[in-house]
C-alpha cells in the first residue's frame, strides 16, 4: 500500500479507543484500580447472576467445540454435561430428581460408563431450554450434536483398530473393478 493511500484510509477512521501507548507505570496503577473495583462488585454479585454467567460460558464453549475440527477435551459430552449439572445444582442427585431419572444412571453417564438413552437426551433438551431461556438462546439440537460429534470423531480416529476386521466382511460386487 502506498503511503498516500495509507494516509487516506487512516483519515477515514476515527480512533475511538487507542491505549497502545500507555506507560507501564500508568498501566499498572490502572490495573490495580480495576482489580479493586471488580473485587467490590464481585462481592455484591448474586448467586443467580453467577449461574447466568456460567451458563452463557457453557453455551459459548459448546459452540466452540462444535465449530472446531480439533479439540483437546476428553469425552466431550460428559464433560459438558458435568459443567451443566454442576453449574445449576449443588448436588448431582437433585438434577437426577428433577429429570426423574435414577441417580445411578446419571452417575454412569457422567462418568462415561454408559451412553445416555433417548429418554435421557429428550429430558435434557427440555431441562436445558428452561435453564437457558433466562440468559440466552439455546439450540435444542446442541446436546445431540455434541454426542454424535464425539461418536463420529472417536470412530474415525480409531480406524486402525477396526478397519481390517470389518473389511473382510465387505465386498462391492457392482462397482468394484479389477484392473
Amino acid at each position: 500500500m502506498t503511503n498516500k493511500k495509507e494516509n487516506i484510509e487512516l483519515e477515514e477512521f476515527k480512533y475511538l479507543i487507542d491505549s497502545r501507548n500507555l506507560s507501564d507505570k500508568k498501566r499498572k496503577e490502572n490495573a490495580n484500580a480495576i482489580l479493586k473495583a471488580r473485587a467490590f462488585r464481585l462481592r455484591e454479585r448474586s448467586n443467580h447472576d453467577i449461574i447466568l454467567a456460567k451458563l452463557m460460558q457453557l453455551k459459548l464453549k459448546m459452540e466452540e467445540f462444535l465449530n472446531s475440527p480439533n479439540y483437546d477435551i476428553q469425552n466431550p459430552f460428559s464433560y459438558f454435561l458435568r459443567m451443566y449439572v454442576d453449574t445449576i445444582y449443588d448436588k448431582r442427585k437433585n438434577f437426577a430428581i428433577d429429570m426423574s431419572i435414577n441417580p445411578l444412571l446419571l452417575s454412569q453417564v457422567l462418568n462415561n460408563h454408559r451412553d445416555p438413552q433417548e429418554k435421557f437426551m429428550l429430558r435434557l433438551i427440555v431441562h436445558s431450554e428452561n435453564s437457558f431461556k433466562a440468559v440466552c438462546e439455546f439450540d435444542p439440537k446442541t446436546w445431540y450434536r455434541i454426542f454424535y460429534k464425539e461418536k463420529v470423531d472417536k470412530l474415525m480416529s480409531t480406524q486402525k483398530d477396526w478397519r481390517s476386521s470389518v473389511e473382510k466382511f465387505v465386498t462391492n460386487s457392482i462397482l468394484e473393478t479389477n484392473h
Partner: protein, 97 residues
C-alpha cells in the same frame, strides 16, 4: 479492534477500537457497530473466564459518559469496565449470531 488477553486478571482489554467514516454519526451505513464489536470482546471474555470475565477500555474523555449510559460500563482508574450482569446484557443486546 485490537484485544489483549490479561490472563492473570481474567480480563480482556480493548486496546484499539476504530470505526470507518461511513459508519459514524447520524448518517452511518450500519447501526450498532461499536456495540457489536464490544459484544464480540465480551463473548470472548465470558468464554474464557465465565463469571469472572471483565472487559475494559480506555476511552477518549468526550465519550466516557456516553459509554457509561449506553453500554452499562463503570469507571475504574482511567478505564471503563464491564462485568457481571451488564456484560451479559450487552451480549444479549448486540450479539446477533
Amino acid at each position: 479492534m485490537s484485544l489483549v488477553d490479561i490472563k492473570k486478571e481474567s480480563r480482556i482489554e480493548i486496546r484499539l477500537l476504530a470505526v470507518s467514516a461511513e459508519n459514524r454519526g447520524t448518517g452511518k451505513t450500519y447501526e450498532h457497530i461499536i456495540g457489536d464489536l464490544i459484544a464480540f470482546a465480551c463473548k470472548y471474555a465470558l468464554r474464557l473466564y465465565g463469571e469472572l470475565a471483565c472487559v475494559s477500555l480506555i476511552p477518549k474523555t468526550e465519550i466516557v459518559q456516553h459509554y457509561i449510559n449506553k453500554y452499562g460500563m463503570y469507571e475504574a482508574g482511567v478505564s471503563l469496565c464491564l462485568d457481571g450482569i451488564e456484560l451479559i446484557n450487552l451480549i444479549k443486546t448486540y450479539d446477533h449470531d
